[in-house]
């Protein structure tokens, strides 16, 4: 029986006159990889920022692990890890230094942070380059370090915002395997991407956003079945049918 882990209720957020998120509600179950798809400007990143307590919703609330982001934000932050789309790393420092630092920020002791840092680097296949400077890493390596940092502090819920942008297939595959491994170990993951095959492969359920609202939410199989035989239809077909083919700014 799936257990609710994240419950978002009627989220709204505006910037000046622009309504970025307009009444978004969904539930993510524990140990689920939940995909959040949508064209550019759909409101995905704003939604994730609200869920990760960086932005305050104008309306609505989210509970994560039983804690409300409005009233128990600090408790929520203790449960989450965020892997942003930008490479939010200190490039002048080494990979290990970055992980230890963010681990300390997450409340870990020095010893704990060091141990987990090494473990996370091993998980993403970078243990040999632990001391290397980030600015000397390839794009794929930087993305893997970015992911490793988001795992510091033993989060129960991980937000992955387009974690595989601009990297080679090997690094991307490494990230997929890492994510699947994390889910198998009990982590809950919210995953956003523009690559439909990723969502198809990784996600247990997928929500499609457009214009600040969720326009579809189901398993990839059921979404495909809505428009044709699932073995012949791709998630991209579903996406384009639901969101249209016109370009988004």
């Amino acid at each position: 029986m799936p257990v609710d882990y994240l419950v978002a209720q009627d989220l709204h957020k505006s910037f000046n006159e622009h309504k970025a998120v307009n009444g978004v509600s969904f539930t993510i179950y524990k140990r689920e990889i939940f995909g959040l798809l949508g064209p550019n400007g759909a409101g995905k990143t704003t939604t994730i920022r609200m869920l990760s307590t960086v932005l305050e919703p104008d309306q609505g609330d989210v509970t994560i692990g039983g804690h409300s982001i409005k009233h128990e934000a600090e408790a929520v932050r203790g449960l989450i890890g965020v892997c942003p789309q930008e490479l939010a790393l200190y490039v002048e420092l080494g990979a290990l230094d970055n992980l230890i630092f963010f681990g300390r920020m997450a409340g870990m002791s020095s010893q704990e942070a060091r141990e987990q840092a090494m473990s996370n680097l091993k998980l993403v296949g970078l243990q040999e380059r632990a001391r290397g400077r980030i600015d000397k890493f390839s794009g794929g390596m930087k993305r893997r370090v970015n992911l490793a940092v988001s795992l510091m502090g033993h989060p129960e819920l991980l937000f992955l915002d387009e974690p595989t942008v601009g990297i080679d297939p090997q690094s991307r595959n490494n990230i997929y395997e890492t994510i699947e491994g994390l889910r198998d170990k009990g982590m809950t993951i919210l995953y956003t991407t523009h690559y439909m095959e990723e969502a198809d492969r990784l996600c247990d359920r997928v929500a499609i956003m457009d214009g600040g609202q969720i326009i579809a939410l189901d398993t990839p199989h059921e979404l495909k079945a809505q428009i044709g035989p699932p073995e012949q239809v791709t998630l991209e077909d579903v996406f384009l049918k639901l969101t249209g083919r016109s370009l988004r700014d």
Binding site: F15, R49, S52, T53, V54, L55, E56, E74, R77, G78, I80, G81, V82, P84, E86, L87, A88, L89, Y90, E92, L93, D97, F101, F102, R104, M105, A106, G107, V149, G153
Partner: protein
Amino acid sequence: MTRALQIALLQVRIYLQDKSDLAFSLLLPVVTFALMYFVFGGQTHFHATVHIVDEDPGGIYSNALIERLDALDELNVELLSLDKADRKLERSDLLMFIIIPEGFSDRLASGEPVQLLFKQRGNGGQEGQIVAALVRSVADDISLGLQVRGQVTAALVGIDVPVNQIETTVERLLTEERESPTVAVTEDTIGSSPDPVKQFLPGIITMYVLFAIILSARTLVEERQLGTLERLLTTRLSIGQLFAGKFIAGISRGFIQTLILMALSYAVFQIFTPLSFASSLLVALIFTCAASALGLIIASAARTPDQATWMGVFFTMAMVMISGTFFPIEEGSVMETVSRFSVNTYANDALTTLISEGGSLADVGFEMGILAGVIVVGLLLSRYLFKVMPGGR
């Protein structure tokens, strides 16, 4: 608090690893101080150019006058044509020149009087009057030599002494007199000479500390752009702790810089006592707190790293210029009032009191109070302006 210190420690590490940053904050103050010391500190001698129109070229006495003037440490000789000299005087490109008239040497050789003409504007300016005094001194000396020869020759008329023996004897005695004068000139200076080290050191240190801290505001804006700030806020770190960390980072970096520069000054110039060194460090610490608070204002207000850089450089240069770092400010002048708007003024005054005047911390209470006020106002203002992202916390 631990998290705040962790953030500060990270920034200090990055600073210590950045060679160009270290060069800027340590090497540059040393170079600037050295330059100012040598330009303004060694000036215990008058130096000027004497402009001469020589209408008696090749004449023995005109050449002697020019050579002896050129040999003076105080003077540089520039020879000009009359037209050029007149033109420059007309335009005030020079305030005085001297004309050695035609036949100067021949007339002197035959014992006839001659005239040197000083062509000038007004009294020739202060420098011109001093140059004229030096020229007269040398010219009179040449004249005296001739007069001495004349007098001795006249006194020995009727006595069988060869002329060349008179010449040789007089010349020798004149040389001996020049080397070991009957009446020596000594000097007694009253009051202290300006000590360039004590004069410039506080200003240079505070200037570069302010520069370094303010420019490091850029990194905070860069972090905002890169997303590392936002990332930190998804951990258990509160905004207050993040802010405190950045504030302490600025102080740490500024204080390390000050400590190194002051320790170097202590070792090289020995201008401190242990007590004045400790007191100066305390003043420097308060100053770096104020500078860090001001840096946070800039980091909070700037939207891009380039904006932060421009605002930082403009702010720092303005503070430095009006604080009298490069030139003394007269008491009671308008500039003194203007200088009160610079944080550097208070830090420089406090350091000068401690280093040059042998004062104690009690004597700099006012300055410390002002700096403390800047810290409080700066922190409040920057905290108000500080946002990680638009619409955010």
